[in-house]
């Protein structure tokens, strides 16, 4: 019998040994060194919707930023568009939100009013940012209750003020491509000449994509000197005589040229995701936003097209061509109020980088779209890329900022319902707008009474 007694660890010893080995291995790994280094830094999860090729551009900005601020780690986290509102709401409500969220103008006001996001006024003052560098229509919707909550990028303007038109289709219809429509009457005439129907009355090539929708109506409203709300945001004003005239004109325009709203819906529903009818020469005039130039250059570089300003009602002496900023688009970057001050400060530094610094201007230039920063759009490179750049800048300057209230989504939803009813001839434009205004006013009154 051997005197040697082999070592047989009991279970506790075995577990202790394994734990020690695991801890040693973990501490020694490069990943852990990195993790420990990052623990000392501030980590910012940056939720955004800059996907596809824009993600690479954003990654480059982040890399430069981190080189300058090694103690701030930025994680670029592009999100999908699917159920976006649900994702953002639950992220904020869940108690552990990302440090920076790309938010719509409506969301910014809604979240600011709820106290869910932190004001950045103090940071802006500390950093000495000159807010006059932004177009007034761009920065206006970033404020709520005298506090600034976000900085804009990209533009909320340039969304409704411009249109592009197919020069070849103009010529074929006997129209002068050098003189695109400037007024409602001229647009009416041009659409009549440009629209082509199939033998069975379906739309083949529509003269334009003006349609009976809430957004379509609001864009027309502002070219008839109408407004969404009063200046103090306490009264719904879309059912003014200007509003009724705008919706009536739009309704009759769609009826006259496109054979009605449903005909136009059928045409729209046939468009496949990613398909652009204008680039294919199957839409004569496209009311669109400033991202259109990039798409045309990619999809149809040889397309002969011109740019015009949204036609206005020349029968109204006070009306003029103007776009509306923050009506349906435009983004800013918000910081949840639940974060500690150091993290908020770090988040602001990055927000400044993507909205105010040279990198912000370059990010827009790379996408051939205008910046909310006035001086950035004066870069001569834009002129080389886009022969219509002067009109883009003019459009940005003409844009007015639409008022936004925290219950905006609900109010626009009401308007959408009634414009739809008018479109389906369930009621007259005047009746529809009045009923919509009455219901929306109730929502607005309830909000303001609870706010006070």
């Amino acid at each position: 019998m051997s005197r040697h007694r082999s070592f047989q660890p009991n279970r506790r010893q075995l577990l202790q040994g394994a734990g020690g080995l695991a801890a040693f291995a973990a501490l020694g790994s490069p990943a852990t060194h990195q993790a420990l280094a990052q623990d000392a830094a501030i980590t910012l999860d940056y939720w955004n919707w800059w996907d596809v090729q824009r993600q690479e551009l954003m990654d480059a900005i982040i890399a430069d930023f981190q080189e300058e601020f090694p103690d701030i780690v930025v994680n670029n986290v592009p999100q999908t568009w699917d159920r976006r509102a649900e994702v953002v709401t639950t992220a904020l409500a869940g108690g552990d939100p990302p440090e920076i969220i790309m938010a719509s103008r409506q969301e910014i006001v809604q979240f600011a009013d709820s106290g869910a996001i932190a004001p950045i006024t103090q940071f802006v003052e500390t950093e000495g940012l000159d807010l006059d560098r932004y177009y007034p229509s761009e920065i206006a919707s970033m404020w709520w209750n005298d506090e600034l909550y976000a900085l804009p990028m990209p533009t909320a303007g340039g969304e409704t003020g411009l249109y592009v038109y197919n020069a070849q289709l103009f010529e074929e219809a006997g129209l002068d491509p050098e003189n695109p429509p400037e007024t409602w009457d001229e647009l009416d005439e041009a659409t009549a000449a440009l629209t082509k129907l199939t033998d069975n009355g379906a739309l083949d090539i529509p003269g334009s994509n003006l349609s009976m929708s809430a957004q379509g109506f609001l864009a027309q409203l502002y070219t008839n000197n109408g407004t969404l709300y009063s200046d103090d945001l306490k009264t719904v004003t879309w059912n003014s005589p200007e509003g009724v005239e705008a919706l009536t004109w739009l309704f009759e325009y769609v009826q006259r040229h496109f054979g009605g709203h449903q005909n136009q819906l059928d045409w729209t529903n046939a468009i496949q995701p990613g398909e652009r009818r204008f680039d294919q020469g199957r839409l004569a005039i496209e009311f669109t936003n400033v991202s259109v130039f990039f798409h045309i250059r990619n999809n149809a570089p040889d397309l002969q097209y011109g740019v015009g300003f949204r036609p206005y009602n020349s029968n109204n002496a006070d009306a003029k061509s103007q776009g509306v900023a923050a009506l349906s688009f435009g983004w800013g970057y918000i910081i949840p109020s639940s974060l500690d001050e150091a993290t908020q400060e770090a988040a602001f530094k990055f927000i400044k980088r993507i909205t105010y610094d040279d990198a912000a201007a370059d990010f827009m230039l790379q996408q051939e779209r205008p910046s909310p920063l006035i001086d950035a759009n004066e870069n001569p490179e834009y002129q080389d890329i886009n022969p219509h750049w002067d009109k883009v800048i003019q459009s940005m300057e003409h844009d007015v900022s639409v008022g936004i209230v925290p219950v905006q989504t609900e109010i626009i939803s009401v308007l959408t319902d009634y414009v739809d009813l008018v479109a389906f001839e369930e009621m007259s434009p005047e009746e529809g707008l009045n009923m919509a205004a009455e219901e929306a006013q109730g929502i607005l009154d309830e909000y303001w009474s609870s706010a006070s």
């Binding site: 159920r83 409500a93 449903q262 529903n269 046939a270 319902d417």
Partner: protein, 315 residues
């Protein structure tokens, strides 16, 4: 020395030696071992089902703002608003009931008929079964994109097909009159899942019943009415319940295809609830809507269950 008998509560493991006094604690804990095994399910059930459901009941009596994290007790105000102050509530109820009334019977009948067909001994039976089941596993979003094309007024395959019978193009998705029928037709896309359950039920019917019927001179119709359908009623009952519960929650098709339009004709209950909750941040109100739906579906389920005594035959 007399041996100690094992206490009744410790006899769960037959043939296991009686515990000594020293190990009695461990022994007693054994009876809780089952909880450890069901813990993953139990935790998930509590976290994702029971607690949220109970919370929804509570929040339905508040004006819970999920963003501001404020919640004030408002009593029955949300329910009152639902019935009297929300213009779109009753249309959403009507649209949902319309959909349920047609989609559920259609799905039950079509699934059953398909299963009968695929239960016959034909060549490539397995292939056919696979083909008919396949749509049930296609992601709903992908299927919806296909159906958008099928229903297109001017270029859709459905209108093209109907054209052979001299039927003018129908505005399936752009007319308030046809939008709900379109979505009901689309619901047939997923009858494959019900079909599989019916097939399983059909194969459980003993052959000797059919043989006896043959001897008695029964034809196919007699056998279907007197043997197949009665013995399939438990399966039909099961599919009916699933169909009812699922149809009351119709959401994806309306959310993606029609966004509730045209003219709110496809604004179903769940779509309205979703918009209130996540687009308008009215979580208290949305909770009240969820509670009402829960109660309605529960009552219908109880009713169907009660009625099953009269028409479900368990052999």
């Amino acid at each position: 020395m007399t041996s100690r008998s094992i206490p009744a509560r410790n006899r769960s493991l037959e043939g296991v030696q009686a515990p000594s006094t020293r190990t009695s604690l461990t022994w007693r804990l054994r009876k809780y071992l089952g909880f450890v095994f069901i813990a993953p399910w139990l935790i998930a059930f509590l976290a994702f089902d029971l607690i949220p459901t109970a919370s929804a009941f509570y929040y339905s009596f508040t004006d819970w703002n999920v963003i501001a994290k404020t919640s004030n007790w408002v009593g029955l105000a949300n329910y009152e608003k639902m019935f009297t102050g929300d213009r779109l509530f009753w249309p959403s109820v009507w649209n949902t009931l319309y959909y349920v009334a047609f989609a559920v019977p259609l799905g039950v009948i079509a699934g059953f008929l398909l299963a009968l067909l695929l239960n016959t001994k034909v060549r490539f039976q397995g292939l056919f079964r696979t083909l008919f089941y396949l749509p049930a596993v296609v992601p709903s979003v992908a299927a919806i994109m296909v159906w958008l094309w099928i229903f297109n007024t001017n270029n859709g395959i459905l209108n093209w097909f109907l054209g052979f019978f001299g039927i003018d193009p129908i505005r399936w998705l752009t007319s308030p009159d046809y939008s709900k029928p379109a979505l009901i037709i689309m619901s047939l896309w997923t009858i494959g899942s019900g079909m599989v359950i019916y097939l399983a039920g059909l194969q459980n019917i003993p052959d000797d019943l059919y043989e006896a019927a043959d001897i008695d001179g029964a034809n196919a119709w007699n056998k279907l009415i007197n043997i197949t359908i009665p013995l399939m009623t438990p399966t039909i009952f099961f599919n009916l319940l699933l169909g009812l519960i699922g149809s009351f929650q119709i959401f994806n098709a309306a959310f993606i295809m029609t966004e509730g339009g045209p003219v709110n004709s496809t604004r179903f209950y769940m779509l309205h609830l979703y918009e209130k909750a996540f687009q308008q941040s009215q979580m208290g109100y949305a909770s009240a809507m969820a509670v009402l739906l829960f109660v309605v579906v529960l009552l219908i389920t109880i009713f169907v269950n009660w009625s099953s005594k009269r028409w479900v035959f368990y052999g």
